[in-house]
Symmetry: D2
Subunit: 347 residues, 4 copies
Amino acid sequence: MLHFDCDYMEGAHPEVMRRLMETNLEQTPGYGNDRYTGNAKKLILEACGLDGETGKVFLLVGGTQTNATVIDGLLARHEGVLSADTAHINVHEAGAIETTGHKVLTLPSYDGKVKAADIEKYIKDFYTDESHMHMVTPGMVYISHPTELGTLYDLRELEAISKACRKAGIPLYLDGARLGYGLAADGTDVTLKDVARLCDVFYIGGTKIGTLFGEAVVVTRPDLLKNFIPLVKQHGALLAKGRLLGIQFETLFTDGLYMGISRHAVNMAMKLKKAFTDNGYRLFIDSPTNQQFVYLPNEEIDRLRKIASFELWGPRKDKETPVRLVTSWATREEDVNEFISYLVKEH
Amino acid sequence: MLHFDCDYMEGAHPEVMRRLMETNLEQTPGYGNDRYTGNAKKLILEACGLDGETGKVFLLVGGTQTNATVIDGLLARHEGVLSADTAHINVHEAGAIETTGHKVLTLPSYDGKVKAADIEKYIKDFYTDESHMHMVTPGMVYISHPTELGTLYDLRELEAISKACRKAGIPLYLDGARLGYGLAADGTDVTLKDVARLCDVFYIGGTKIGTLFGEAVVVTRPDLLKNFIPLVKQHGALLAKGRLLGIQFETLFTDGLYMGISRHAVNMAMKLKKAFTDNGYRLFIDSPTNQQFVYLPNEEIDRLRKIASFELWGPRKDKETPVRLVTSWATREEDVNEFISYLVKEH
Amino acid sequence: MLHFDCDYMEGAHPEVMRRLMETNLEQTPGYGNDRYTGNAKKLILEACGLDGETGKVFLLVGGTQTNATVIDGLLARHEGVLSADTAHINVHEAGAIETTGHKVLTLPSYDGKVKAADIEKYIKDFYTDESHMHMVTPGMVYISHPTELGTLYDLRELEAISKACRKAGIPLYLDGARLGYGLAADGTDVTLKDVARLCDVFYIGGTKIGTLFGEAVVVTRPDLLKNFIPLVKQHGALLAKGRLLGIQFETLFTDGLYMGISRHAVNMAMKLKKAFTDNGYRLFIDSPTNQQFVYLPNEEIDRLRKIASFELWGPRKDKETPVRLVTSWATREEDVNEFISYLVKEH
Amino acid sequence: MLHFDCDYMEGAHPEVMRRLMETNLEQTPGYGNDRYTGNAKKLILEACGLDGETGKVFLLVGGTQTNATVIDGLLARHEGVLSADTAHINVHEAGAIETTGHKVLTLPSYDGKVKAADIEKYIKDFYTDESHMHMVTPGMVYISHPTELGTLYDLRELEAISKACRKAGIPLYLDGARLGYGLAADGTDVTLKDVARLCDVFYIGGTKIGTLFGEAVVVTRPDLLKNFIPLVKQHGALLAKGRLLGIQFETLFTDGLYMGISRHAVNMAMKLKKAFTDNGYRLFIDSPTNQQFVYLPNEEIDRLRKIASFELWGPRKDKETPVRLVTSWATREEDVNEFISYLVKEH
């Protein structure tokens, strides 16, 4: 059986495992007060063009947890978070944001992306609405890059969104669960330093790119997320053996590992995409990253699911249903080739 | 200056005030453990075709508070509430539902109403989605009657929604902030007994119909909202002098006062609507109840706001903006006539 | 039957009712944007020695609601509120503070009061504890005056607590549900202006002193409780007919009504206390305010409850149980006299 | 430098690491839907004397997270959790329980333990208090075993607590962060099967006993924690690569590893305790498990901290301060011996 369900089907990159083994019986203080975590933070800040004065880093365990904790930390009690209606926080986090007491305020999604103009309009409409004290105040903007649909902002779009947020005086937060797969995509003009320059808070995903688990939250404004550790603890996100996060991120940010393994996943995804389009399949989304979305006739789904696992994107429709195939740093090229061999021309 | 801003610009109906005065120096136990509250509950249950075996009543202070408390009481922690995207709980309660930890799951709004078919589809799609354990479980349905746009469900629609909820095993909750104005509307085929028969929980609004404040929550299923009093207390909704609620609702439900004063408001609203259409104004919504929505050119808004106050419905648009005019039990016919005299034919 | 259960057994002071009747059919904007509310706020600020520059006032409906809303507004997410273990917020609000996500951190109670030295010790211990990032940060102090046990701080104690809070950089919040009964007590050296000078936020209770309902929150630091209205709305505490609060507090703060009626309640309570001690009953607490606490043998409780209602203070004990008798602005002297006539010398 | 700070200073037991390495590049479905997790659950249930009909298991990441998620899942909205005032949930979880909206209701601590009689009294007092609808309803009992002070319940005590809970109709939840160290202690008469028989929910800690991270929640009543997965997700506790938990617990519950490594830690702790008492040091608590508490004069603390790290138990006192030394499955006997060699007779 081949597997393209998601980008968290394997463990960690072998180099990450090697380092975890190597350090396994060392004794370090808990909760991230260890030298590995310290070094990982330093390496991440450097990669972002920041230092200990201009930025800070927190290492958390998982994506939903990170989103809930960061958003809870950024918003005042009367505020909500603006996001695309397709955003992970709005659809696939089981209401974790709302459990912190905050509303997700939705903007139209353009293949998973939001537009600066829509943010500006929302905020203008809000403050000109005579009833706005009865409404949830937009207090921050959430975007994902790549989005949940595999798409990417270009630099101009990201700059416009950042500008809209700064004009409105609200922080911009970028969910980078798959950030590497975005930065490594063909044709993108967005770098990690751009992300750090344009966002107020973002996270660099490890779970989906090379680690067993772990997400690195980068804060680029010293006034934000002060007193964050007790909040991380409250959210059950303060790992006792914090050094596990440190060791993993230290490894990812040594010798360009993070970008290298990200690039591999994108290559595999492009190979899949080309095979779909060469065989006349219709893309649901034209994604330049590791998630590929294609329409499949339902009988084709049934046939292909006998040899490969992948997700339906939403409930099964009458005739054809969009499906998602995902590659990762761990995807074997021979698996991709085998899957492609099952595709049918003129299906 | 004339006032059509809302239906809570005056105090209470004179008969309600008379009773409050009359009983003012009586001594009663607090928190609703008084004979007036007991009698009010009995009268309300009777009006609903229920009794102490089949129904129960709780008296709360305000609408947002009631919605938040009831929804918090009905939902399990992993559940959210389905409502029209235009619903009061989704737009105008400052996120009160989310502060209880629950997500508002939106359905399309048809002039403020939801369709049974959309509820059924949402629930079917949810349970057939392979990722549904990562999503918010739909745990109840919220509707308002009249809606925030003044519209009404007909009996067939309400029965279909009730059936959809019962089939799905989730409670149906009806926000009746303006219930009287709906029950008293021309041509409606929905009675209070129908509401009690088809909904699992609903509230009969007092604040907008005759009382100083107060909303009567009616529960028609004995298994729901058990242990509700401590929850009411937690929500800051347990009035110390609970008898004030009892006296007011006892008065409303004596000698048909509630329906009588509701009817007056509807008559005044119909007079306004006729004047608008007679003069060629374009309705934003064709509402049969006490809220009237009409498009006004912006200069017309400026002109009319010199003699009457009313709300813009959303932010001011470029040329014309929908506005809302509201009548109530207290609206004076001479005020309506005067306002109408300012309308301009072929404006 | 005589009633000494609590200080909210009657409606409102006749003058308050007169003003509510007089203004009943006036039309005013909702949610406190009316002239009565404006004037009430002005009068309250004046009585506190403040003005619109140095203070602000919010009018809410009930005490538990006010405590939950204010505390939610003052605390950051990782903070808790310090209070006596006997505090209303810790015992008798059904967990309303915790529903906002905040812990009540308890200090020893000395007849309902906290000591400045204990606050200082708590904060010092907290910050010197090597594990404090795993603990709830003390973010404010809650006191009540009079306390839940009827006792009062003297000026020196209040100054010491205020100083401890300011040194720690955390706000001091005073629950004044019965503030008038404290300010009117014999021998107190604390004035309303002292309260305003020493506290950062406090509320002046109306429900228990002359109004149908209503609590006036006074904020004495401009940086606190900004954006409070949406929070009030979220908490279901924004009264639609806000002017009802305005009219009532305007009346209370006109011609010294608030202090005058408070004084009456204290006089009645002192009469009760004297009767108890004269007859050899043992006080549970020596309270100078309108709540009186006395030990009664259980058979005495049973006997007296046949002619008067009053509360047991906690669960019934084996032989004797402390009970609470409460007077109010509305207590009739003949009722007090009649009750006293039932007391037995050498019981 | 020697380290006795805590029981999470190393990574995982070598056998656990070996299995993680061995399976690292296998592909499995996410979120615990893998065969390793399935097998781990089976092994755990067997060890507890349960099967898939009578029990269920959930694997979460960390202790605070587990407590918050389970307690949130067990309590109704108006309920709180009873625990010792020294309980981890009351002191060292940064208010995580309160962020779920629930109050921690404290009972007296007897060296970290609660007494059945106090539970019974609390519940009786609650329901006989005439004001109980204004108070937080006790909805479950939390105990830890070993406690935060290293102490253990004996079987008779545990049976009495269980009986008190069942009589009151509320679940008993046992925090087993260090459960193995308790079950392996000298002289205990409590087995894992006893725990499963007497508790309604408990967790078997992995983080402190052999895994990198992970806690196994065991539910022994089919009606509890239904719909728990979405709640786990909401709490940010649903690990994407859930199999990491499965593999680790499968290893722990194969060939008696869990009990074997627990026993080692206890042996090391007993050696430490004997050395303290032999040298005339005064125990703060006489703990039979892996946490040892002893009073040290402050100068002794300063001297010993030069060669070994350990925690002060609370803020430093004037002359002597209790300290905690912790052993674990990973403690090396030579380290214990070296530490003991620094102790001074007649210090």
